[in-house]
Every structure is written in structure tokens, then in C-alpha cells.
């Protein structure tokens, strides 16, 4: 058990600075863009890792922000999905102004804790995402699918409307016996949707996630308020604190 993890630790790429060239930017949701970046020096990353994007203005002013990596592989390419915060400094630039050919500085890959590694056991994995918080969890689901890993996966994804689903086609494509996808719509659901529309509740969380008795590894990601609420409910539902991994994106 311990030998493979030692090897994994040693082979994990060291974080470094990279120059990325924008290959493509496209609408991901009404408020978010998907950025496909060509990064020749990029070593690839573990599913769930993030990177820091650094922007430099002509007068030398710099701003940097963290973004989760949607693509675990291949090396040489990075996919990000960025949600625009109306008053934000960096996200409106990334979503609206970036064009193919533009260059960005990236520092990464970063984070060896909020990651999922194939072949590390058969306990089930429960992912819980709010909004753009699905990005690192999508990377985990994709890595799980690519590795044909036997651990059962399930994603509970809270979004405002059907248009706000990130990686909608890719997630639908992954869904199957090894990966269950549950959506919660907080504002508007597709016609004929059987469940109530509205904020995620503790009861809905309990009903649509792997029960604590099955000892799932749980990964929760989204705005700080979402993560805090869900992590508290999970503990109330009997999940051990050590089984709950969180990634707060900020905000309320």
C-alpha cells in the first residue's frame, strides 16, 4: 500500500512558472468561459490540482488568482473554466478580453491534497459541486473514467439553471454504471424535472449522495458559503471530518 504512494509522491511534477498561449476561448455558461491553453512546458497534473494565473499590466502592476485545472492530461495543454464575477479584477478579463494568441503566465501544478488518484482503493467517492466549483471535480470524474477505476463515483452538482452546467456534454458522456450524476437546480429546471427547484437542502443532500455508512471519500468545492454549509451538513449526516475534503473558491 505504501510503496506506490511513495512513487507517486516522487513523480509528482514540481510547480514551476510556465508561459501559456491561448488556443481557444469559448462560452461555457452564460457567465463563464472555457480557456484552452497551449503550454509546451506543462508536465500534466493530478486530478483536482490548481494553478496560479499571473497577469501583468504595462506599468508592471500584477494580479494573480488561483484556478482549478479541468484537464488532468495530456501534458502540454491546460483547460480552465472561469466564472465572471461582475466586480472582479481578474475574472472579467479572462472571460471577456482574452483572445487566441494571447499569453499568460501560470504557476503550477499546485496542491497535492485536494486531488484524487486512480488506483488508491475501492471506497466510493462522492463529489459535491456548487457552480464553478465543479471544475476540479470534473477533472476527477474524467480521470476516473479514463483510468476505468473501479471505485464507484457520484457527483451532486448544484447549478442555477440548465444553462449554467459546466462541462455539460462531457459529464453526460461520463455518466454510467461507474459514475452517477445528480443535478440540483436552484432557479430553473428543464421542463418536466421531477425534483423541487430551489437551494440545496440537507435532506436533498442526504437523499442524493452516498450514505455515510458506505464511508465515501467526499470532495466538496464551490463558493466559501456553499462549501461551509455542505461540509457542516455532511458531518451532521455522519461523515467523518477526515473523509471530507474541501476547496473553497472564495466569496460568501
Amino acid at each position: 500500500m505504501s510503496a506506490p504512494s511513495v512513487t507517486l509522491g516522487r513523480s509528482r511534477p514540481r510547480p514551476a512558472w510556465h508561459v501559456a498561449t491561448v488556443v481557444e476561448t469559448r462560452r461555457e455558461t452564460p457567465t463563464a468561459a472555457r480557456l484552452v491553453l497551449d503550454v509546451p512546458t506543462w508536465p500534466g497534473s493530478e486530478a483536482g490540482a490548481h494553478l496560479d494565473v499571473r497577469l501583468t499590466a504595462p506599468d508592471g502592476y500584477q494580479a494573480s488568482r488561483s484556478y482549478s485545472i479541468a484537464s488532468a492530461t495530456p501534458a502540454g495543454q491546460v483547460v480552465l473554466a472561469v466564472d465572471e464575477l461582475p466586480d472582479g479584477e481578474v475574472s472579467p478579463f479572462l472571460v471577456r478580453d482574452l483572445r487566441p494568441g494571447d499569453q499568460l503566465e501560470l504557476h503550477g501544478p499546485l496542491g497535492a491534497f485536494f486531488v484524487w488518484r486512480p488506483g488508491t482503493g475501492d471506497r466510493p467517492v462522492q463529489l459535491v459541486a456548487g457552480g464553478s466549483g465543479v471544475v476540479p471535480l470534473y477533472a476527477m470524474a474524467a480521470a476516473h473514467g479514463a483510468a476505468a477505476d473501479p471505485a464507484p463515483f457520484r457527483l451532486l452538482y448544484s447549478v442555477r439553471t440548465p444553462d449554467d452546467v459546466y462541462f455539460a456534454d462531457e459529464l453526460a458522456g461520463l455518466a454510467g454504471p461507474a459514475f452517477a450524476l445528480d443535478l440540483v437546480y436552484t432557479r430553473e429546471a428543464p421542463a418536466g424535472w421531477p425534483d423541487a427547484v430551489g437551494r440545496l437542502t440537507r435532506e436533498a443532500l442526504a437523499a442524493r449522495t452516498v450514505p455515510a455508512a458506505h464511508r465515501p471519500h467526499v470532495y466538496v468545492c464551490g463558493s466559501t458559503g456553499f462549501v461551509e454549509t455542505v461540509a457542516r451538513w455532511l458531518q451532521e449526516l455522519g461523515h467523518a471530518a477526515a473523509d471530507i475534503h474541501t476547496e473553497r473558491f472564495g466569496g460568501l
Binding site: V19, L55, T56, A57, E89, L98, D102, Q103
Partner: protein, 197 residues
């Protein structure tokens, strides 16, 4: 640093001769927090000044206000590069507080509810240069901005204006407070850009 991101300028940075070097003018009031926000009721609030004999001089909320509240208009400069100009504040001058305190020591450590500390030379708190502020922008200070009361030392970087102030301890030496231990300048004059060690 030769790398430039095409089209990126960041938040608007307007030059203004009233701004110290490296500062940007803002109209809003950004909230910085290095920890959970303490919520202190004025009924429980107390200010303690401790001198070298260990004697505590104490003021309750009402006793503080009874010392006399004044209105001041000052500029504030945060070390994270934003400044606000002509900001209206209300508070009690520290001259009033120190009237009652005898001390040979030349330095003060400000202590806050929540554990924050910052060091300031005594002379920077006297002669109308500093206040225990209770209101800003015409309203009582809300907890996010340091309410019910914060130190206001506008001629130094704003981390010296300790939020949620509860005590001032006289010190023989200029010992570093919280940020001063972790990399920030012992004095913090914005006009000399004394940001870091």
C-alpha cells in the same frame, strides 16, 4: 519583468498628488481580514491602558465617549495599495486618554479583540495625530471595519489603525506587533513607502 499580458490593466490606478507612492485611489472601503471578525457589544467593550507599573487605566464605552468625541477628516493609506481621501471619522483623541496615564516608556503595543497587535511609538499617538474611532462615513463602525472601536493613526499605513482595539500597553522598546513580526515595517510611513522590513 518583461512579460506583459495584452489588454490587462487591472483595477483603475489614477495618479493623484495627494496619494503616496504606489497607492491607488478607491471610492469604496475594502474589507481586509486576517481572521474571524469579533463581534463585541458596546455594553461589554472596554479599553485598558497599561503602564509600566502594571496599573490598568480602564474606560467603558460610555466613559470613553464622555471624554469628548470629535469629527476629523483624514486620508487613509492601506499597505495593500489603496487609499481613500477626505474620509470623515468620529472618535476620541488619544491625547484625552493619555492625559491620565503616567509613563516613561516611549512605545505602545495596541491589542485587539481577536488577538491582533500592532506597535506604534507613543509620540505618533499624541498631539492630535490619533484617535479611538467609533464612526466613519457618518455611521457607527460596523464589525467588519473594526467596530465598535478601532485605533485611527492616519499618517501611518492603515494596518497600524488596529480594528477592534481593546488595549494599549506601554513598552520600553519598539517590539513588533502582528504584521511587524511577519514582514511588515516597524514604523510604516506611507510617504516613504515603508511597507516591509
Amino acid at each position: 519583468m518583461s512579460f506583459v499580458t495584452r489588454g490587462f490593466s487591472g483595477r483603475r490606478r489614477e495618479p493623484d498628488t495627494r496619494l503616496p507612492p504606489g497607492q491607488t485611489l478607491v471610492q469604496d472601503w475594502p474589507v481586509l481580514s486576517a481572521g474571524p471578525t469579533p463581534h463585541v457589544d458596546t455594553a461589554d467593550w472596554e479599553l485598558t491602558v497599561q503602564d509600566e507599573t502594571g496599573t490598568d487605566h480602564r474606560w467603558s464605552w460610555d466613559e470613553l465617549l464622555a471624554l469628548g468625541v470629535e469629527d476629523v477628516t483624514v486620508d487613509i493609506h492601506c499597505v495593500t495599495h489603496w487609499s481613500r481621501l477626505d474620509m470623515g471619522w468620529r472618535g476620541v483623541s488619544l491625547d484625552k486618554i493619555f492625559e491620565d496615564v503616567e509613563s516613561e516608556h516611549e512605545y505602545v503595543m495596541a491589542h485587539s479583540y481577536g488577538g491582533y497587535t500592532t506597535n506604534v511609538p507613543l509620540e505618533d499617538l499624541l498631539d492630535g495625530k490619533a484617535w479611538i474611532a467609533t464612526e466613519a462615513d457618518g455611521a457607527p463602525l460596523d464589525p467588519e471595519h473594526g467596530g465598535p472601536a478601532r485605533l485611527l493613526v492616519p499618517h501611518l499605513y492603515f494596518w497600524k489603525s488596529a480594528k477592534w482595539v481593546r488595549g494599549l500597553t506601554m513598552m520600553p522598546d519598539n517590539d513588533p506587533g502582528f504584521w511587524e513580526q511577519y514582514g511588515y515595517h516597524l514604523y510604516g510611513d506611507p510617504w516613504k513607502e515603508e511597507r516591509y522590513w
